[in-house]
Symmetry: C2
Subunit: 366 residues, 2 copies
Amino acid sequence: AATHNITVLPGDGIGPEITKVALKALTAAGKAEGEDFVYTEAPIGGAAIDATGDPYPASTEEVCKAADAVLLACIGGYKWDSLPNAQRPEKGLLRLRSSLNAFANLRPAVVLPQLADASTLKREVVEGVDILIVVEGVDILIVRELVGGIYFGEPRGFKEENGERVGYNTMVYRESEVERIARVAFDAAMKRGKRLCSVEKSNVLEVSQLWKDVVIRVAQDYPEVELSHMYIDNAAMQLIRNPKYFDVVVTGNIFGDILSDEASMLTGSLGMLPSASISEPGKPGIYEPVHGSAPDIAGQDKANPLAMVLSAAMMCRYGLNLPKVADRLEAAVTAALDAGYRTGDIMQPGCKQPRPSAGRHPSGSP
Amino acid sequence: AATHNITVLPGDGIGPEITKVALKALTAAGKAEGEDFVYTEAPIGGAAIDATGDPYPASTEEVCKAADAVLLACIGGYKWDSLPNAQRPEKGLLRLRSSLNAFANLRPAVVLPQLADASTLKREVVEGVDILIVVEGVDILIVRELVGGIYFGEPRGFKEENGERVGYNTMVYRESEVERIARVAFDAAMKRGKRLCSVEKSNVLEVSQLWKDVVIRVAQDYPEVELSHMYIDNAAMQLIRNPKYFDVVVTGNIFGDILSDEASMLTGSLGMLPSASISEPGKPGIYEPVHGSAPDIAGQDKANPLAMVLSAAMMCRYGLNLPKVADRLEAAVTAALDAGYRTGDIMQPGCKQPRPSAGRHPSGSP
Ligand SMILES: CC(C)[C@H](C(=O)O)[C@@H](O)C(=O)O
Ligand SMILES: CC(C)[C@H](C(=O)O)[C@@H](O)C(=O)O
């Protein structure tokens, strides 16, 4: 038995309520396996702006860096929408990722059999003489580069030219950045279906040509993995046409932002999807749901806490090497779904609302 | 009656065969309305590389600039895939767009009632207590900026830094570029549902903040249009979750590339989708299908020519001010579908293959 120091960032909106559920589940699953979790809460995003004027205060950075892992809920809300960009909740999130060098964002998009009907995609379509199974059994892992690319590239900003304003950003990748994310993706592919699709726009962009070159070079160390290349426009299309084509996808920061949100829709609900952002060995990673802070339903006991519980499971699996605790958390989610419990976002005819909880948070959770 | 000079660029793969069908239909529809079309053919893409070593030879540029409108089929193929980027078919397309200053790319994504079953999206889903109609009646116009942004931004290229290669591109927009594309989009919205959604990533990118500022300023001239703003990641998601939310979408070059390909999948077949790329008043626009050159089925009399016929219709409507000829071409497409004719890409149980044609090209066309 060991003690694990978790820095918990409840953030904004539904963040605090789904955090409570996840920590309760995590503590229970840990206890069953003889593992102890110590939680240190810190503010980030809007909550941190309100408390300190800074979306990622130095005190938060400090406890994040000192932790074994960081469990983040979600940030943002209407309240802070009109602030200048540098002071907005999103900036806190970007600075958190960057300060921990959390370069590898793993976003699984799995269509659970219990939820296939919640997808806007059909179970199958007829294509010519073939029947194409569309959503059932979809199991994609998107590996998104998270601390480089156009999100952080310099130069960036505004200038005046010929009497008018110009806005500009730089999409940039260096070999070592592509190599390290490619290795994470190839390693993941080796543990899964051994197929990797690298997504870029190398028919137009030099930065993508470099990306592709490096991925091809790294592939030599992974002869068992079947590597393919796809342009981002085609990938956005194939993700809807034939999502089962994909096993692991590796891509840059903004393409990964777009594709992972799109892929999340295949599953029917953002409320189900966790993510892990991994740093170098020995440094803490960040574990967070893909969904936002849903300020419109915050505090109403309606939010789906499952993505947050599954994020805690990813933390145990990838960050703390506690696969048994992860298994327990995932089994609890499956059990809640099998028992027919559904929050509004994934409600289907014949299913039931979680029973009202003692506290303020939903209790359809494990 | 007037004579219209059309420069025709059949390009590669299925290009020549779908071009034949479209020109036959266009000539016939013109004749019925007393309009004459004179066609000047010129090579572009792979065909031009093979003939001259250049994917966009000066002779082609000349006849394009001299035309009333340019009708392009599609370019590219495996044969030219290993050439360096500057010599690839795609470069010819990018240079064509740029040389004609065809800055406004209009890409309609309309789900025809006859084809709703070909979509991988469901007709409807249950969301909580609501039934959400998903694909039926979807009618989106994507207005994509086509000659700026990261496609053409400078500086771009490769450099060496700390002993490693770095690839970089610049995403840049100036006020005047955003303003002119915004005006095209607002004008289009006025003629349609009066709703415009501007898509960018202003929570992260300065270039997007400038984009958003300018769109908001231009909106003051269009008080009747309901303007909304959406981040690209959310737009990629909403396009699958609730496509009927969208009327007109305006966005930059690469976001438009991604979104329009994704939107095309809603309709079930790329083989149905035309596009128009409009330049300044008095200059020729480019009209082309959204699909590629499909080298795998080229020359086999299997290609769906409808996107090409509909591109000719867009040319008549937007480029030549011949709405009656456009109506005839669109009616012919509808009639072919209503009669149950389908190429393989949109085949459904109970429909029939187009009857074999006298020549090499499909004849399920008007
Ligand atoms: C909030 C925003 C800055 C962030 C991003 O773009 O990375 C979000 O969309 C995400 O994907 O985590
Ligand atoms: C072929 C390619 C350069 C082109 C683009 O990216 O613009 C294509 O994808 C398109 O959308 O017309």
